[in-house]
């Protein structure tokens, strides 16, 4: 017996939906200059071919490797220094914006208008700091302080202080407020109340978020080099522009290794501290 054909009962709807989607997609393809055939013309094939064949012979002379090692360390150092500066900004900001540390809130549950305004203003500043992408901060700082790691450190410091302060405050506000409230209600100064009432409750979470951000900062600082903010990225940018495929291959491997290593270290640290 011949197999009976069973056409898709919903084929009309499916075909119509596909055609409509393709029609909607058309202006998008035009705007993104989607021309895959450009990849296949002789000139770009030759360029890509030369670049890719170099990839198979990663550069590995001692001098180059030493340079890569220095740049990799610079990338890690930019991330660590940037995060340290970010903490210098984020911790005081957290102290100001955390609602549980408000004295006027005690008892009445309503904050004084002036303290509400101060908190909201600082929150807006923090929103601004973290909404500008770190790469744009880096680009701006390269214009101010010139090429090099200083721009990367400052970019990470600004962008991450906004993120850290927001999340720190959220962690503190979502933890159990009982200890903190009783300390404040009995006349403890705010700093002491935070230290003895707030931190023990949520220190593990705070530390593990900070370590996670350090890992993000390493990835970010490697990428920021592409706008001239030092480290591995800057070297990779130069080598790509010179079409030195072998050097780029070595650096890509180093980059993947670095990111994997930061991931492992951060997991270990978080398990140990968290």
């Amino acid at each position: 017996m011949a197999l009976a054909r069973h056409p898709d009962p919903a084929w009309r709807g499916r075909v119509t939906a596909t055609v409509v989607c393709l029609l909607l997609l058309w202006p998008m393809l035009v705007a993104s200059e989607f021309k895959p055939w450009l990849l296949l013309d002789a000139q770009s094939l030759a360029a890509a071919g030369g670049f890719l064949s170099d990839f198979l012979r990663p550069a590995h002379d001692a001098e180059f490797l030493a340079m890569i090692a220095r740049d990799t360390w610079q990338t890690v150092a930019i991330a660590s220094a940037g995060l340290t500066l970010a903490l210098l900004g984020a911790i005081p900001a957290t102290f100001v914006i955390t609602e549980q540390l408000s004295l006027s809130r005690l008892g009445t549950g309503r904050m004084r208008v002036s303290s509400r305004i101060v908190r909201q203003l600082l929150r807006w500043v923090l929103v601004f700091l973290r909404s500008v992408p770190e790469l744009v901060w880096a680009l701006l700082f390269v214009r101010i302080v010139g090429l090099g790691p200083t721009a990367g450190v400052l970019a990470i410091a600004l962008a991450y202080s906004g993120m850290l302060a927001k999340v720190y405050a959220e962690i503190l506000e979502s933890s159990d407020a009982h200890a903190l409230d009783s300390l404040l209600a009995n006349g403890s100064p705010r700093l002491a109340a935070l230290m003895y009432g707030g931190l023990p409750e949520s220190s593990a979470e705070l530390v593990s978020y900070t370590v996670y951000r350090w890992e993000c900062a390493i990835r970010g600082s490697a990428v920021m080099g592409f706008v001239g903010a030092g480290g591995l990225g800057q070297r990779m940018d130069e080598s790509t522009k010179m079409m030195a495929g072998g050097e780029v291959a070595t650096m890509l491997m180093m980059f993947v290794l670095l990111v994997a290593l930061a991931d492992i270290v951060s997991k270990l640290l978080r398990r140990r501290l968290g």
Binding site: S32, L38, A81, P133, T240, A260
Partner: protein, 260 residues
């Protein structure tokens, strides 16, 4: 009798010392230009630099150009995500173990490599083949996101109940039909929500991708900053912030509507 004090572990102080050493070594080895910051005229020159941004450029011609770049950024993110869905699905089939363990291991390694190289690095590399402009950025978004989505899709396909597909196959359905009608519909909702989430990420990424020359708002920002046209740059940064804020608001609203 006094209870003996709890044992002190040596690990934590050592760890803290190590972290402190890392931070000190970072600051020492970086040769940061602190001098430029604490020079007496630093504050003045910083203020001058900041004042250069105000007021943002608002001539109609420039605003139209910025809108064009905004549209280009959106288009890059959408087409890039679409490419990533196609590529991710093609890679997810072997990566979910349909063609044997060797193919699975190999594709998973490939997906890991695609994923661990950031979009921006892909864009810089693809400029060699695709030339300056949004096409390189679109491809870069597609390649990186294909790595991310491929892995998520593969996990989703692996976690689907296998019985419906087996039942169809036992009754004589072709392999492709059995996959399309039994396995894919089960994984589809999860795959769609991963895709939407990545699209949101890609809009943000597309906005800055241009700083290496890969189109969109980023390219415009880089161009005007390198000519020291700060007022034009300010307009572009504001457009970026607006774009990100709109995406955040839309995703927040969508999530609330979906989870209600």
């Amino acid at each position: 009798m006094k209870p003996s004090p709890p044992p002190r572990s040596l690990g934590t102080p050592l760890l803290l010392l190590g972290l402190l050493a890392l931070v000190v070594a970072s600051f020492v080895s970086l040769d940061l230009q602190w001098a430029a910051f604490f020079a007496p005229d630093a504050l003045g020159s910083a203020r001058e630099f900041l004042a250069g941004f105000a007021p943002p450029e608002t001539t109609p011609a420039f605003l139209t150009k910025t809108l064009g770049a905004l549209w280009e950024t959106l288009a890059m993110s959408l087409v890039g995500t679409l490419l990533a869905v196609i590529g991710g699905l093609l890679l997810a089939l072997p990566a979910s173990g349909r063609f044997g363990g060797v193919a699975r291991g190999f594709t998973r390694v490939l997906l890991n490599v695609l994923r661990s190289i950031p979009e921006l690095v892909w864009a810089a590399l693809l400029l060699v083949a695709a030339g300056l402009g949004p096409f390189a950025g679109t491809l870069a978004l597609g390649v990186h996101t294909a790595g991310v989505l491929g892995r998520l899709f593969a996990d989703a396909l692996e976690n689907v109940a296998p019985q419906p597909e087996a039942a169809l196959r036992d009754n004589g359905a072709a392999p492709l039909a059995a996959f399309l009608y039994a396995t894919l519909p089960q994984a589809l909702p999860q795959m769609l929500s991963y895709t939407l989430y990545r699209w949101e990420n890609n809009i943000r990424a597309a906005a800055v991708l241009g700083v290496v020359g890969a189109g969109g708002l980023g390219q415009m920002l880089k161009y005007h900053l390198s000519l020291f046209q700060m007022q034009s740059a300010a307009t572009v940064v504001i457009a970026m912030l607006l774009l990100v804020a709109c995406v955040d608001a839309a995703s927040f609203a969508l999530r609330r509507a979906l989870t209600r």
